[in-house]
């Protein structure tokens, strides 16, 4: 084994050694709880399946193993093309004279980091298997867990070198393993010598890899060719031509910078799905107070969702050159920011109104609620705009100010009907003046 590879493999061991004793004990206790809880649940489930349905222990092993492997197989190309090349260890190893087989081992060992959760889940599953099935089923399960992950990595790596194409290798990989899973999982009940067929098939694959192992040595820094994940420019500055000239550069900047940031898009998609799920779940669990539930969820969602505006992953902070040396107008900047997010608020309103209509809520109620949400969203977006200007050099501080202001305003308005809004309004005006001083004198 390559010396470097040996040290690379030792990383996990060194990592464990460097943990403090307290942390090790904590991990041990959490591990015991985790394993015992899920082992007991798993054993109960397997016991039920084995007794109530016509499933044999080996059948259960085949289906459970293939279910886990299906998930594992689907994630491997993503891991191979995106996560692994980002690992610092690769940058050290890529300049080393590694043999092809050593590189495969490096790939496999590095992939374990990303498979930690599935691997941890295996432990209680394995215990549950041991408690409920026979040795043969357990052996089958363990063998599968040991062999398949290596085969997945080997397949994508082979195909990448063989085809020298990003798309071809991924397509062929999915095609091959889809056929495999469909065939062997689907035909379990129809094949008399299922395990024999599977073993022969696996041996054939391994034989082919062995026969073609020379390919592995021909590889040349395969990870140099990794594509950069830059989002295509589906919108351009020119498309804002008809927008009012005074607002155009800032509005275009706000929207383009967001729409081209893949993290921003991902966040919006996940948040929206979560919101819809919450609304649908509310219909099941709170049918009597559904309108109150929707209102509460929407207000909370808008408040918490927009906290991302203080995270540099999603929003690029302003810089001194822009804030202090450009002739930017305060209200133009604030308006551009509010307008760029208003489209999303409108989308949320449409979704919410559709759900409410399906639930049979009166139109007047929906309109009242929509008006309230628009006012609240406007208030939130305005607060975000002014605190981001006021603390443009420190997004974290701006985030604290935002949460403080929202909580303070809601508490004041809810508890002190006349004085509360007055104090809140005065505070907002004062902060507006402070923020205005940051960019205009």
């Amino acid at each position: 084994m390559n010396v470097l590879l040996r040290y690379y493999a030792k990383q996990g061991w060194h990592y464990w050694h460097n943990l403090s004793l307290r942390f090790k004990i904590e991990l041990f206790i959490v591990g015991i709880i985790f394993v015992s809880f899920f082992s007991e649940k798993g054993a109960h489930l397997f016991f039920q399946l084995l007794n109530s349905r016509d499933i044999t222990p080996i059948g259960l092993a085949v289906f459970t193993l293939h279910l886990i492997l299906l998930f594992y197989a689907a994630t491997v190309p993503f891991m191979y093309y995106i996560l692994l090349p980002k690992q610092a260890g690769f940058h050290v190893l890529r300049v080393q004279p590694l043999a092809g087989s050593s590189m495969v081992m490096v790939l496999f060992l590095s992939s374990l980091k990303y498979q930690l959760i599935p691997l941890l889940l295996m432990v209680p599953l394995l215990i549950a298997f041991t408690l409920t099935t026979n040795v043969f089923a357990v052996a089958y399960f363990v063998t599968g867990i040991l062999i398949y992950p290596l085969l997945f990595i080997l397949t994508i790596h082979f195909l990448k070198i063989f085809t020298d194409s990003y798309y071809k290798s991924i397509s062929l990989y999915f095609l091959f393993w889809s056929i495999y899973f469909l065939f062997f999982t689907g035909l379990y009940f129809y094949l008399d010598h299922y395990l024999l067929y599977q073993s022969v098939f696996l041996m054939l694959i391994c034989g082919w890899f062995y026969y073609k192992r020379g390919i592995l040595d021909n590889q040349q820094y395969w990870f140099n060719k990794v594509k950069k994940s830059v989002r295509a420019q589906s919108f351009t500055f020119i498309q804002y031509h008809d927008f009012p000239k005074i607002m155009r550069p800032l509005f275009a900047r706000e929207t383009l910078v967001s729409l081209r940031n893949i993290r921003y898009i991902r966040l919006k998609l996940i948040s929206t799905m979560l919101y819809i799920l919450l609304l649908l779940a509310g219909h099941e669990y709170f049918p009597d107070n559904y309108i109150h539930f929707v209102a509460a969820v929407t207000f909370l969602f808008i408040w918490l969702h927009y906290a991302y505006q203080f995270n540099e992953k999603y929003v690029q902070p302003e810089f001194p050159l822009f804030m202090r040396t450009m002739p930017v107008k305060f209200f133009t900047l604030v308006s551009a920011r509010i307008l760029s997010e208003l489209i999303y608020i409108l989308l949320l309103l449409v979704l919410q109104n559709v759900v409410l209509m399906l639930a049979g809520t009166a139109i007047a109620t929906i309109l009242y609620l929509s008006a309230g949400i628009i006012i609240f969203a406007g208030f939130i977006l305005y607060i975000i705009a002014i605190v981001r200007i006021q603390f443009y050099h420190n997004p974290r501080l701006a985030g604290y100010a935002y949460h403080f202001l929202v909580i303070f305003s809601v508490m004041m308005i809810a508890n002190f009907y006349l004085v509360g809004p007055l104090i809140t309004g005065s505070l907002i005006i004062y902060l507006t003046l402070l923020a205005r001083r940051q960019i205009a004198r």
Binding site: T236, P249, R441
Partner: protein, 250 residues
């Protein structure tokens, strides 16, 4: 009213970071049509002075005038005519280089700038990467975009804080000619750099700073006279001056 031909005037500028004085009582006048260079050892106060002049840092004492406008009272008017490229570059990662320049020109309300942007991109050898997102740019390319943004207009006042360091030789050559042309058109150009040769060869006036103070200022004629008198080159004189061996200044 300001003196005829004087574009930027700084009067008794003092800048502090807490107890530490970064710039102490510095006064100078920058005339139209000339290139000025600020040079000095690390921590001399060059960037602090420039950051104060463009309005990024607050002034503790003194005044900065651009033509008849006082920076502390009417900065917006100044901002329309100011081109500033900082030492640390911040750009919007998800705009393309061309879009970034378009945005700056529209914020500054410059008339039709497409041709000028194309010209600047060409001069800085960025035309091929102009429509790529900035996040994919190298450090040098980012510097060039920041520099191009500061030259759009061209502005009446151009201030470059270490903005030329790290440019490739072709871009340096082109930028030098651009700056000279802008100076001829009436712009005032102030640049700071650690590269003595650059300041010596490009600038009409050289300002030397040390320990938060303005140590000396030379015109090109002063430098020629000084070198002839002492029989040394300017870099030797500069090193002696900042080391405290030479007390002569223009």
């Amino acid at each position: 009213m300001p003196d005829e031909g004087i574009l930027i005037r700084i009067e008794n500028i003092t800048v502090c970071y807490g107890d530490k004085i970064a710039v102490e009582n510095v006064s100078f006048t920058f005339e139209a049509g000339f290139i000025y260079g600020i040079i000095g050892p690390n921590g001399a106060g060059k960037s602090s002075l420039i950051n104060t002049m463009v309005g990024i840092l607050p002034i503790h004492a003194g005044r900065v005038h651009y033509d008849q406008d006082d920076l502390s009272k009417n900065s917006r008017n100044i901002r329309y005519n100011l081109g500033y490229a900082p030492e640390n570059i911040y750009l919007y990662d998800y705009l393309t280089g061309r879009e970034y320049l378009l945005m700056i020109s529209e914020i500054k309300r410059l008339p039709e700038t497409q041709d000028e942007i194309a010209y600047l991109l060409n001069q800085l050898n960025l035309q091929e990467s102009a429509d790529r997102i900035i996040v994919s740019y190298s450090h040098g390319m980012r510097k060039k975009i920041a520099l191009a943004a500061s030259l759009l207009g061209p502005p009446r006042y151009i201030i470059l804080d270490e903005a030329l360091n790290g440019l490739d030789p072709v871009a340096m050559y082109n930028v030098r000619h651009l700056l000279r042309n802008y100076a001829k058109q009436g712009s005032t150009i102030l640049l700071s750099s650690h590269i003595l040769e650059l300041v010596e060869n490009w600038c009409d006036y050289i300002i030397i700073m040390k320990d938060a103070r303005l140590l000396a200022a030379y015109s090109q004629e002063d430098i020629e006279r000084l070198c002839a008198k002492t029989g040394t080159d300017f870099s030797t004189h500069f090193i002696r001056l900042v080391a405290g061996d030479d007390q002569s200044s223009a």
